[in-house]
Amino acid sequence: MSLQPNPLPDPKLAEAQETNQSKSSSLWGDAFSRIVKSKTSLIGLCIILILIITAIFAPLIATHSPTDYASLTDRYQSPSSEHILGTDELGRDIFSRIVFGSRISIQIGVIAVGISMIIGVLLGGIAGYFGRWIDQIIMRLIDIMMAFPSILLAIALVAVLGPNLRNAMIAVGIVGIPQFARIVRSAVLSVKETEYIEAARAIGAKHGRTLMQHVLPNCLAPIIVQATLSIGTAILDAAGLSFLGLGAQPPKPEWGAMLSDGRAALQNAPWVVAFPGMAIFLVVLGFNLFGDGLRDALDPRLKQ
């Protein structure tokens, strides 16, 4: 599960931003051309696009109902032309379930990362901008959260909230807060000192407004990179929770839950486990590739 806070922690990213705020428009332009040039991030982008298209057109792509079986006698059929990825423990078409499951994965990614991002950015922004005791308090809280291996914290949270998909997303979201908070804090710290912000403050802009309108937008690059990488992690985490029976409930075609339900038949019908796992793997890979590409593109340190 959340073994990677993000696949390749990059402590220097935030520092690097310092030098580059003024040239932000060229930064984004360069970034785009870099991504297009990088093969791996293009593959990542393709996987993400396929995921989104699948989710949108799921009813058209799926060959069967994702939640209903035709007959209980069709259970555990191996892949065939009728069921290209076979059938599961109720005789449902695995391909169709995976197709509809893409919607759940996107939902998890967006909502969980949304929670981490909104709260994390706010906390990190406030801590970095105001500094002093506010910073102390917030960062100590973050330290406490970071003292728990994230999966344990997520399990404990789900146990408190009750096991279902919504709560799993909330738990995964909460667990991801510290990452955002720290990254945003250090980005804000470096942005804060620039003349531009000092000028805004000098002409009497209010704190809230300065923070929202001037400081945070200038920290966008690391936030976007972190968000992309976090989506992969969030999907992985939520699938893990579902695998433990603490996430999506039946008959939702959530990939982790599908995998867990198929476990009983591992010996006789390995496809029930194999394909949903492959789907999780591919999607997470997609977000990681793309996130990596984004970081390289937005990281001027590698500019030559």
Binding site: P250, R263, A264, N268
Partner: protein, 555 residues
């Protein structure tokens, strides 16, 4: 040239790692300097263990039994879980025991017994040649000690439960237990109790050594001492429990020298261990592995005779559709039981009554509702629910012996009920949470099941469907079905000693229950065990566990 460099590079790195490891172990070594003297001990004991291995080679027989969960306590009077009972059944004896294949009783610690005309006084004559594993003689005083211990607190769950004991009346229907001789015990009951003798054969009433109970106090549950065919040796929590043969057993001494109960939580992994030969016998076989087992010439399926029921209870106490008899009947009609039973993979037979057909008193006249969606719709319309309704179905996540695939079964029912516009929301939780929720009447509908304890219909009907057991918070009757007519019949059957009269009473009650439809009865199963072909003479008992002294294992 390049190759050589690469090799050097790898070599240096490996060296670094080995060095690092060396440093680590060195640390561990210096950390335990005060263990130096125990090193001598350990070398001694490793000699011992090599001796052990040697004797093993000369024919020590070990049976490794794989199961899904560890025992909770090895004091059977305090537990209700099957995994504890499985082990304590080896260590303890009861006054009487069940016969090998059914729930008729045979002598065990008691050789002989008789009862007064009115059924309130029972006298047992005890064997005189029995010793506890700690060497103490077994006498009438020990029986009295155990029964008095059980009547001291609510901790002794089965005692309270079988003898009607409560916090206010800790003794229940047992008024007194006296040693009327060195080897004679007399029970006086406050009212006749038809299943009394059967009940005494239940494993929770195994007789413990008073000396050991007093010596270990709170910790007795991990230091059990009884008179049974096996002696407790070691318990590694969540891993294994080892018992060894009791050479001086008064009954038939065990054929195997040692039994190891190994906990392997995942059904699939446990089955793999069986195939690999690292365990000899296992419970909790996934039904889809039955075929694999039968095809494997090294393995065999052993089927436990059926004395259980799985059902979906409908909460009659909740305002709304489930309080309507017509709706409950409609649900019964709308589920295709035959199709549903394909999920039991051949180990289940359809159920129509709350007791299994193997029990006396089973009413075969009752005709099941059958599968008829149109009729179901008509009944719903008659009850005013033509447009259907939303409803919850609570299920346990883990397989139970009477329901091998609860999650899947729930989803199948969910889909079937769509046909009559009933929209089912499944709430799945682990076993303990499920029990708590259903006993608190949180559910509209819920899965549950029951394995008979003593082979008496009372143990099914009264427990599961009497209004006495429909108290929110501690209900056995999770349909919260309250029918005074049924209650009177069941109460009368409890105190009536004549089995023919009792049969009549239970027959009538079953008809009333069928009409009211508080349940959708699902199936009676024959839970399969898988074993190596080397295991012989294993006769599984309908109550769910049995002593292992008769089975054997070929080397």
């Amino acid at each position: 040239m390049l190759k050589k460099r690469n090799f050097l590079l790898l070599f240096t790195l490996l060296f670094a790692v080995v060095f690092f490891l060396g440093a680590c172990t060195e640390d561990a070594g210096t950390g335990s300097t005060d263990d130096n003297q125990s090193e001598d001990d350990s070398s001694d004991s490793s000699d011992d263990s090599s001796e052990d291995q040697a004797t093993e080679d000369t024919g020590d027989k070990t049976l490794v039994f794989g199961r899904g969960a560890d025992s909770i306590q090895l004091d059977p009077s305090k537990v209700t879980d099957g995994e504890s009972i499985y082990v304590t059944n080896q260590i303890y004896d009861t006054l009487v025991r069940y016969k090998e294949e059914n729930t008729e009783v045979k002598p065990a610690l008691a050789e002989d017994w008789n009862t007064s005309e009115d059924g309130t006084v029972w006298t047992f004559k005890l064997r005189e040649d029995v010793k506890f594993h700690d060497g103490n003689d077994f006498t009438a005083e020990d029986v009295v000690f155990n029964f008095e211990r059980w009547a001291t607190s609510g901790e002794f769950i089965y005692y309270g439960y079988m003898f009607g004991a409560s916090e206010e009346d800790l003794g229940g229907i047992i008024e007194s237990v006296e040693a009327t001789g060195d080897y004679e015990v007399t029970f006086t009951l406050s009212e006749p109790n038809a299943p009394f003798l059967q009940t005494l054969a239940m494993p929770p009433f195994g007789i413990a050594s008073p000396a050991a109970v007093e010596e270990h106090g709170e910790d007795y549950f991990k230091n059990p001492v009884g008179t049974g065919p096996f002696v407790f040796e070691e318990w590694v929590p969540d891993d294994s429990i080892t018992v060894t043969k009791n050479e001086d057993y008064f009954g038939e001494a065990a054929n195997v020298d040692k039994v190891i109960f190994r906990t392997i939580p995942d059904n699939g992994a446990r089955f793999l261990e069986l195939q690999a030969g690292s365990i000899d016998l296992m419970t909790g076989l996934n039904p889809q592995d039955i075929g694999t087992t039968e095809d494997d010439s090294n393995l065999q399926i052993i089927r436990r005779p059926s004395m259980n029921i799985s059902y979906m209870a409908m909460n009659t106490s909740k305002e709304g559709p489930m309080s309507e008899k017509l709706v409950r009947q409609a649900i019964n009609l709308a589920i295709d039981k035959e199709e549903l039973l394909t999920l039991y993979e051949g180990i289940g037979k359809p159920a129509k009554n709350p007791i299994p057909p193997s029990l006396w008193g089973y009413n075969d006249e009752v005709e099941d509702y059958g599968y008829d969606v149109e009729k179901a719709k008509a009944l719903l319309a008659e009850a005013g629910y033509a447009d259907g309704f939303d409803i919850s179905l609570y299920t346990m996540a883990n397989p139970r012996p009477y329901m091998p695939q609860p999650k899947v079964t729930a989803q199948a029912i969910q889909q079937m009920l769509k046909d009559i516009n009933v929209n089912v929301k499944i709430t799945e939780s682990d076993w303990d949470t499920h029990l708590t929720a259903t006993e608190n009447a949180e559910h509209d509908m819920a899965f549950l099941g029951w394995t008979g304890d003593n082979g008496d219909p009372d143990n099914f009907m009264y427990v599961l469907l009497d209004k006495d057991n429909a108290k929110v918070g501690s209900a056995g009757n999770i349909a919260f079905y309250k029918n005074d007519e049924v209650h009177d019949l069941l109460k009368e059957a409890q105190t009536e000693m004549d089995q023919e009269v009792r049969t009549e009473l239970y027959m009538e009650a079953q008809e009333l229950i069928h009409e009211d439809a508080p349940w959708f009865p699902i199936a009676h199963t024959t839970p399969p065990l898988a074993a190596s072909q080397n295991v012989t003479d294993y006769v599984p008992h309908p109550t769910g566990s049995e002593p292992f002294n008769l089975l054997d294992i070929k080397q």
